[in-house]
């Protein structure tokens, strides 16, 4: 290197500053649209005008809640999310327990198969389900949606449960067994409480995935049974007004609530870990 020392220092400075600039730019890109939407949702004008709004009012929120089209979708979304996530969590935790405690030939293949819905494009999952359910004669809208949502949430449930099972201290279970507890009792009073945080974070991620899905649900709705995201997308394409901004603020609120639960139950630091060389 022929670069002299002060010169080299300057290159380092430039690189350092441009790195900081890139980080700030990324943060602005992530936050700015959300900020604009949150402000515009309170716009008092009755039409979509340019930023900034001349005054503030809640009338877009009133409009959102006065449209039965959205309310029906919201009810279906919550129902489907709760039912599908409960099924996924129960089935997923059981499967994870099996995969954690048994050794057999082809275990890797079984695990990969269970996680494979994650790599299949959701549209393909929705479309294949539509064809299959029509073939076997399932036309019940709610049932079809629940099946679709179980498929997309099950891998998350299995993965988080497996990760937390791998982290527990097996000696605690052995101690309980030695003291005379039955296997079922150990499962309920030792194992499940130990993986509680993993199950909660799995539940939150599964719930968010279910509540957000459009690609799978679009194929499985019928005229009276549709989810809120499907309703929002179709109204977004028809008329681009600020009712959706109000809905977006509500959905941001849902995310904040989920984050709050996640932080209280698990803690952000523990989700990522501090790393081998962490401070």
């Amino acid at each position: 290197m022929n670069v002299t020392r002060p010169n080299r220092r300057r290159i380092d400075d430039i690189i350092g500053w441009s790195t900081a600039a890139v980080v700030v730019l990324g943060l602005v890109f992530l936050l700015l649209p959300l900020l604009v939407t949150s402000v515009m949702a309170f716009d008092e004008r009755s039409f979509l005008g340019p930023m900034p709004p001349p005054g503030f009012s809640l009338h877009w929120f009133v409009r959102f809640f006065s449209q039965t089209y959205f309310l029906v979708g919201l009810r279906t979304s919550l129902l489907v999310a709760i039912v599908a996530c409960s099924i996924s969590l129960a089935a997923g935790a059981a499967a994870a327990l099996f995969l954690d405690r048994t050794q057999f030939w082809g275990r890797g293949v079984v695990l990969a198969t269970f996680l494979s819905p994650l790599v299949v494009p959701p549209v393909v999952i929705g479309f294949s389900l539509l064809l299959f359910l029509a073939q076997i004669g399932v036309t019940w809208g709610l049932g079809r949606l629940v099946v679709g949502h179980v498929i997309i949430t099950l891998p998350y449930a299995i993965r988080t449960a497996l990760a937390s099972l791998a982290g527990i201290d097996r000696r605690l279970e052995e101690a309980a067994l030695n003291l005379g507890a039955t296997e079922a009792r150990v499962l309920w009073t030792v194992t499940l409480p130990l993986i509680r945080t993993g199950l909660i974070s799995g539940a939150i991620f599964a719930f968010a995935v279910s509540l957000d899905d459009v690609a799978v649900s679009s194929f499985l709705t019928d005229p009276t049974t549709y989810t809120l995201p499907v309703a929002l997308v179709s109204s977004m394409r028809a008329t681009f007004d600020l009712t959706i901004a109000a809905a977006s603020v509500l959905l941001i609120g849902v995310t904040v609530v989920l984050m709050f639960i996640l932080d209280k139950a698990v803690g952000f630091d523990r989700l990522i870990g501090r790393g081998m060389f962490g401070r």
């Binding site: 690189i15 700015l32 649209p33 499967a95 327990l97 294949s128 959706i244 901004a245 977006s248 984050m259």
Partner: protein, 283 residues
Amino acid sequence: MRTTRIWLLLILPSSLILLGGFLLPMLGLGEESFRLFTPGRVGAVAGAPLTLNNYLELATSGFLDFVVETLRISLIATLIGLLIGFPMAWWIARRLPRAGRAIAIGFLIAMVLLSVLVRTYALELTFGSVGLLRGVLRALDIAPNGRGYIECLVAAGLLHSVLPVTALTLLGTVQNLDHRLTDAAQSLGAPAWRAHLSVTVPLCMPGLLAAFLISFTFSISAFVIPMVLGKGRVLFLSNLIYTRFSEIADYPSGAAISVVMLAIALFFVVVVSNIAARQGRKA
């Protein structure tokens, strides 16, 4: 013997769900893609003759353009995501104090959980025809409904989804990096940028590849983002499948596109995982 049966009972529910809700439907989809479609009907008739037409039609029509467009825009969004996400992860892991770190991680997780509808709507509102850039666009004579700008918007939509995931994935990698190695390079006389380029980046390669794979497979299967932000001018493969289903009810053709799309997604998963495995062996 009895315990084995109980253990098997544990995996039974998930297996049944996966079989009936995923594996059988996928097989059915493959079969449908080889059925002859009669225009005007909804899907193929039961027992319709087998044909390769649905695939041949894709090879001849402008289908390839849609494949290229999907891959191109996805690749751009993924690479920009890595270029911003990597410094972001490094900065959070190495520069922020503990309290700030927890807040930053919480923020990124919130951005992962954020609804894709909120993202697309917010981006359209902020950068679309009535957005903040209205004046800038007019001054530069860029039509907000022109094709080039719409492509940028779709890429921005993908980037908004991919960036927090990339940063979080790389955060794990950067944290497990022994920063003493970079320090050693610097104390031996390498300038910081060189130390990072020749020590930090190669050591983070497995994480970079993982982040690339996650972002890219997410992007090529995106549905809402190109549908809303693309305004019908930019169509991804997902949107094409949905159009075959909702507008002309040509299920066999939609199934053929699905099979092709699945093959593309799996191709990238296999290729990138292989590269990652080779990297791992070298390290």
